[in-house]
Amino acid sequence: MKLVYFAWIREKIGAAEEQISPPAEVKTVRDLMTWLSARGPGHAAAFADAKRVRCALDREFVTWDAGLEGATEVAFFPPVTGG
């Protein structure tokens, strides 16, 4: 599974993307955020305030309850500020 990060989440993690193979018990976006938080201080800082984190699965906005099954690209980013 490919993870991509944007804005301050990318900066806190220190990478724009990474390849991961989470264990089977990681079933939802929320599970993945919890699992990623244990990978290091950068990840922990990025996901410390979950209310400020948004997610897309294969380039579609989803909520934290969304299932990861079948997803190939998971993106984490702050609320958008375009326009």
Binding site: V4, F6, A7, W8, A56, R59, E60, F61, A75, F77, P78, P79, V80, T81, G82, G83
Partner: protein, 151 residues
């Protein structure tokens, strides 16, 4: 309905974009141009605004917003150009234009498009100041409320 969408680092020519919206059957063209605003903060000046986006998803999301506008109003043409990269105060960020047989449709469609661009197109803005400080711009509740009023 002719749809024109560009996500690019380069600037655009507003006059040329407006001209391209003016085709036979058009009764009115409405547009919005977003500009990098200098901060009202007297203690520090904005040096640059850097826009990051999610290539691929950005285009998909904006297409979705444009399709919704087309479904809602009788538009003959619709244009969205959104820049990314490092921009200086006074530079253009975004162009939204809509043409329709009637003014109300064009004006409302442009307001709808920019309201939704702000809340659902995956862009993020980072401000750099003359003090050396840099800050990611936080999403504003007022923008979410502006988009929600169209529901």
């Amino acid at each position: 309905m002719m749809r024109r969408l560009l996500v690019q680092a380069a600037d655009f020519d507003p006059g040329a974009e407006l001209a391209s919206l003016g085709q036979p059957g058009v009764g009115g063209i409405a547009s919005f141009i977003g500009i990098v605003r200098d901060t009202p903060d007297q203690a520090r000046r904005l040096v640059a605004l850097t826009l990051e986006h999610y290539p691929g998803m950005t285009e998909t999301e904006i297409e979705r917003i444009m399709a919704k506008a087309e479904a809602r109003w009788a538009l003959t043409r619709c244009t969205v150009i959104h820049r990314f990269g490092r921009l200086r105060p006074g530079e253009r960020i975004v162009f939204v234009g809509a043409a329709s047989p009637h003014r109300t449709a064009a004006l409302q469609a442009v307001a709808y498009l920019i309201d939704w661009l702000k809340t659902s197109a995956p862009f993020w803005k980072m401000e750099a100041f003359d003090t050396g400080e840099r800050e990611w711009v936080a999403a504003r509740a007022v923008d979410a409320a502006a988009a929600a009023r169209w529901d």
